[in-house]
C-alpha cells in the first residue's frame, strides 16, 4: 500500500460532521469571575465534605472540601475571596446538589503553588508519593468520566500495567480543548506521562491522536523523540474512538472484557488533560482548579478555547464569546454526541466540562420519528456489537429479561445508533430507559 495504514478500532463507528472552528484558536486565560460555585460532587464516588465555614477567607488553591472516603476527590477554591454560602444548586443532570459559593476578592494564590511558566522536567518521587500528590490535588479523569485518578492509578496487587495509553483522540465534533492543550502544553503532557508511568510502573506510553489533528500529532512526535519509551500514534478519525475500550482496541488490539477495566489487559488509559493536571500537581504543586473549555457554536460571535477556573458560571463563559446568539435553541455542556443539554445558564464549570456548545433553534429539535425500515445501519455502526433496533423494540414491549440476554449493559451510550437512524428513531433513549430499569431491578 502506498499510504500508511492508520490504526483504528475494528467494529462500527460513525463519521459525524462538525467543523472544529476553534482548532487554531489558542487557549485564552479567562479572568476569574466575581462568584464561583464549586459543586461537591463533581467526580464519581462520594461527594466531598466541606472544610470551610461561611464567611471564611480562602486563597486560590486552598482546600475547601476534602474527599469523603477513598473513592472521592478533594476540591480546591479556584478564586480567592470569602465563602458565601453552602447550599443546593442544580447539577448537570438537573438534580439538586450541594455547592460551595465563593465571592472573589482579588487574586491571591496559595504560596506553595509554583506559578512560573517554565517546564520542570526532573522529579524524584516514588510511586506512593506521586499518588499522594495526585490525591491531594483532587485530580479526576478529565476525559469526561471524572473517576478519581489516585484510585485508578493504584494498581491492585494481583494486577499489573505495563502500558500507559494517553488519550488525545478527542473524537467529539466541535470540541478542541485537548487538541489545543496538546499543541500548547505538549512538553508538560510528556512530563506528566513520565510521572504517570512511574506511578503505575509502566514501561512505555502510547499517545493516540486522530489524524484530523495533524499539527498536534507532529508537535508531540517531535517532542517525544527525546523520550525513547513514548510513542505517538495517528489514528483514523472515527467516532467513538475516544472511548477507552475503542482506544485500547485501536492501539494494542486487545478487547477489555465486559465489566472489566483497561488494567485487565495490563494498560492504564488517561486523558492528555489528566496528564497535564498530574504534571501541574506533582511539579508545580498546583491542585486542579482550572481546565480548558471550548466554547463554540454555529452563530457564536467569537468561539474560543478558554482556560477557565472550575466553578465559573456558564453565563460568564457565554459573555466571554460575545453573548448568546439571537436564535439559540439549545445549550449543550460537552460535545454534540454525548454532551448534556442545559435548561438555563445557571450552571457551573466542573472538572468534567470540556466544552460548551450553543446550538441554534433550527438544529435543536428532533425530526419526526418514523417506522423502522430494518436497514441495519444501527447494527453496523454499534462499536460494541449490539443490535439497537432490537433493544428498542424489547424495551418498548417491556421485555426486560430479554434485554439482559441481548447484553444491553455493554452499551457505551455513544449515540452512534440514534445518529445514523434514517427514520430518526430515538434508539439510545430507549436503551437508556432499559438500562435504568434493569439497574433498579437488580439493585
Amino acid at each position: 500500500m502506498f499510504f500508511r495504514k492508520l490504526k483504528t478500532f475494528s467494529k462500527g463507528g460513525v463519521h459525524p460532521l462538525g467543523k472544529k472552528v476553534t482548532q487554531n484558536k489558542s487557549i485564552q486565560t479567562l479572568p476569574p469571575p466575581e462568584k464561583i460555585s464549586l459543586i461537591l460532587k463533581q467526580h464519581l464516588g462520594a461527594p466531598a465534605i466541606p472544610v470551610v465555614e461561611i464567611n471564611e477567607r480562602v486563597k486560590v488553591g486552598q482546600l475547601v472540601a476534602r474527599n469523603n472516603g477513598y473513592v472521592s476527590a478533594n476540591i480546591h477554591s479556584s478564586v480567592s475571596g470569602r465563602v458565601d454560602k453552602i447550599e443546593d444548586v442544580l447539577d448537570i443532570s438537573g438534580y439538586k446538589t450541594k455547592a460551595i459559593t465563593i465571592s472573589a476578592e482579588g487574586d491571591d494564590w496559595d504560596e506553595s503553588i509554583d506559578r512560573s511558566p517554565d517546564v520542570k522536567h526532573d522529579f524524584n518521587l516514588n510511586s506512593i508519593e506521586i499518588l499522594k500528590k495526585i490525591q491531594d490535588a483532587g485530580i479526576v479523569g478529565l476525559g469526561g468520566a471524572t473517576f478519581p485518578s489516585h484510585v485508578k492509578l493504584a494498581i491492585p496487587f494481583s494486577k499489573f500495567a505495563n502500558i500507559l495509553i494517553l488519550n488525545g483522540v478527542e473524537c467529539e465534533p466541535c470540541l478542541t480543548s485537548d487538541h489545543r492543550l496538546m499543541i500548547e502544553k505538549g512538553e508538560e503532557i510528556l512530563v506528566g506521562a513520565k510521572i504517570l508511568m512511574r506511578a503505575v510502573h509502566a514501561h512505555k506510553t502510547l499517545i493516540g491522536i486522530e489524524n484530523n489533528k495533524p499539527d498536534a500529532i507532529k508537535h508531540l512526535e517531535t517532542l517525544a523523540k527525546k523520550y525513547e519509551n513514548i510513542k505517538v500514534y495517528a489514528l483514523k478519525a472515527k467516532y467513538p474512538q475516544g472511548s477507552e475500550k475503542q482506544l485500547v482496541k485501536a492501539l494494542i488490539d486487545k478487547e477489555i472484557p465486559n465489566k472489566g477495566l483497561p488494567i485487565d489487559v495490563h494498560t492504564i488509559v488517561d486523558n492528555v488533560g489528566t496528564a497535564f493536571a498530574v504534571y501541574e500537581a506533582v511539579q508545580k504543586n498546583k491542585p486542579l482548579i482550572e481546565r480548558v473549555v471550548t466554547v463554540t457554536g454555529k452563530y457564536v460571535k467569537h468561539p474560543c478555547n478558554f482556560l477557565a477556573r472550575i466553578g465559573t458560571p456558564i453565563e460568564h463563559l457565554v459573555q466571554a464569546v460575545g453573548g448568546l446568539p439571537e436564535n439559540t435553541g439549545k445549550i449543550v455542556m460537552g460535545g454534540p454526541m454525548m454532551g448534556k443539554s442545559l435548561s438555563s445558564l445557571n450552571y457551573y464549570v466542573t472538572k468534567a466540562t470540556n466544552g460548551l456548545l450553543v446550538i441554534p433553534a433550527e438544529d435543536s429539535k428532533r425530526e419526526k420519528v418514523r417506522e423502522c425500515i430494518r436497514c441495519a445501519k444501527c447494527v453496523s455502526v454499534c462499536p460494541v456489537g449490539l443490535e439497537p433496533y432490537k433493544l428498542m423494540t424489547l424495551v418498548e414491549r417491556s421485555q426486560y429479561d430479554d434485554i439482559v440476554e441481548e447484553k444491553i449493559d455493554y452499551c457505551l451510550e455513544c449515540g452512534s445508533c440514534s445518529f445514523v437512524c434514517p427514520s430518526y428513531r430515538p434508539l439510545l433513549d430507549y436503551i437508556r430507559l432499559g438500562k435504568s430499569v434493569i439497574k433498579k431491578k437488580t439493585a
Binding site: 475500550k245 477489555i256 472484557p257 439549545k330 460537552g334 454534540p336 435548561s343 445558564l345 436497514c375 449515540g415
Partner: protein, 334 residues
C-alpha cells in the same frame, strides 16, 4: 435571556441527516445507468413499462394509505417509486399495460401494504408482483423482445429466447454446451446488455457500476451481493468442473438472468434482508445455492426471484438467532 426557553433533550444532539428518503432516492439514482442502457436496447417498450410501473405503484400506495389506512399521505418517501422501478426491471418490455398495473397492485397492495406498509413487509414487494405475474401470465411473461431490433415497437416486438432458456433447452435435449453457445451472444455482448431478457436484467456493466457506487457510498453493505455472486460462481464452477460438456461456465451464470440485478438491488432491500453481517452472508449463500439449483434442475430457466423470496422467509429466523460478536464478550483474558 431569562424568558428564552431552551430545548432539553438527551444526546446525541446531531444527526447524520441521512433519511429513508435519501437512501431510496440514492438507490433510484444508482439504477439510472441501467435504465439508460435498457432504454437504448428496448426503446419505447422500456419507457412505457417503467413509467406505468412507477406511476401505478405510487398511486396505489397513496390510495391505500388515504382510504384504507386513513393516514396522512406523505409522498415524500420514494420507496414506492423504487418498488415500481424494480418491478419494471423484472418485466419483459412488451408486456401489456394492464398486466403491468395488475403487477403493481399486487406488489404494493399485497406485497407491502397488507403487512402494514414500509418496514413491515416480510417479502420483497417488487418480487411478489413479478412472481405473481410469472405464474398467472406465463406466456406474456416469457416472451422476450429482441434487443435493438424491437426498439421502435412495443406490443408487436419481435421476440426470441434468453440465454437461460437456450441453456434450459440444451439441458432438456442433452445438447452439449459448445453447440448451444453458438446461439447466444458472446460474453462481451452480455456484459453490455445486448441479449434478450427482462428489461433491467440485461445491462450487466451498468448494474455493476450502480451497485459498486451503492457499496462505496455505504447505502448497502457488501456482504449480500458479494456472498451471492461468490456462491453462484463457486457452485456453478463446481458443475462446470465436473461436466463441462453439459454445464456452461460460471461467468455465463453471473452475466445472464437476474443475478446482478438481484444481488445488488433486490436481495439488499433493507426491509427484507437480515440485520447482522453474518446473517447477510448466510442469506446471500442461500440465495446463490437456490438460484443455481433452480437453474440447473428446476422447471424455470431462472431462479433468482424465487431464491430471494424463499430466503426472505428465513430472515426473521436469521435475525433472531444470529447475533453480532459483542465487544469484550470473552470474560477472562489470557
Amino acid at each position: 435571556m431569562d424568558n428564552q426557553l431552551l430545548t432539553v433533550s438527551p444526546s446525541p444532539h446531531i444527526h447524520s441527516k441521512y433519511s429513508v428518503n435519501t437512501a431510496m432516492s440514492r438507490v433510484i439514482m444508482s439504477l439510472i445507468p441501467a435504465l439508460i442502457v435498457t432504454i437504448y436496447f428496448f426503446g419505447i417498450g422500456a419507457m412505457i413499462i417503467t413509467t406505468i410501473a412507477m406511476g401505478s405503484c405510487m398511486v396505489f400506495e397513496i390510495l391505500i394509505k388515504k382510504y384504507i389506512f386513513h393516514e396522512p399521505v406523505l409522498v415524500s418517501d420514494s420507496s414506492s417509486l423504487l418498488t415500481g422501478l424494480l418491478l419494471a426491471f423484472n418485466l419483459p418490455s412488451n408486456l401489456p399495460i394492464w398486466i403491468v398495473i395488475l403487477g403493481s397492485f399486487i406488489a404494493i397492495g399485497v406485497g407491502k401494504m397488507t403487512f402494514g406498509g414500509l418496514g413491515k413487509n416480510p417479502f420483497n414487494p417488487a418480487l411478489v408482483g413479478r412472481v405473481f405475474l410469472l405464474i398467472c401470465f406465463p406466456v406474456e411473461m416469457t416472451s422476450w423482445p429482441l434487443p435493438l431490433i424491437s426498439r421502435f415497437s412495443y406490443l408487436d416486438a419481435a421476440t426470441g429466447a434468453t440465454p437461460l432458456t437456450i441453456m434450459k433447452d440444451g439441458f432438456r435435449n442433452t445438447i452439449p454446451v459448445t453447440e448451444w453457445m453458438d446461439n447466444i451472444p458472446s460474453h462481451l455482448q452480455m456484459v453490455i446488455g445486448n441479449m434478450g431478457g427482462s428489461m433491467g436484467e440485461v445491462a450487466g456493466l451498468a448494474l455493476l457500476l450502480g451497485g459498486i457506487w451503492l457499496i462505496i457510498t455505504r447505502i448497502i453493505s457488501w456482504h449480500i451481493p458479494v456472498s451471492i455472486i461468490l456462491t453462484v460462481l463457486i457452485f456453478t464452477g463446481l458443475f462446470w468442473f465436473i461436466d463441462p460438456v453439459k454445464y456452461p461456465d460460471p461467468l455465463f451464470h453471473i452475466l445472464t438472468g437476474g443475478v446482478l440485478l438481484g444481488s445488488f438491488f433486490m436481495a439488499t432491500d433493507y426491509v427484507t434482508s437480515p440485520m447482522t453481517s453474518k446473517g447477510m452472508c448466510l442469506y446471500g449463500i442461500g440465495i446463490g445455492i437456490i438460484t443455481v439449483v433452480i437453474r440447473n434442475f428446476g422447471v424455470y430457466p431462472e431462479g433468482v426471484s424465487f431464491a430471494i423470496l424463499i430466503m426472505n422467509g428465513f430472515v426473521p429466523l436469521l435475525n433472531k438467532y444470529i447475533k453480532p460478536k459483542r465487544y469484550g464478550e470473552k470474560l477472562s483474558y489470557e
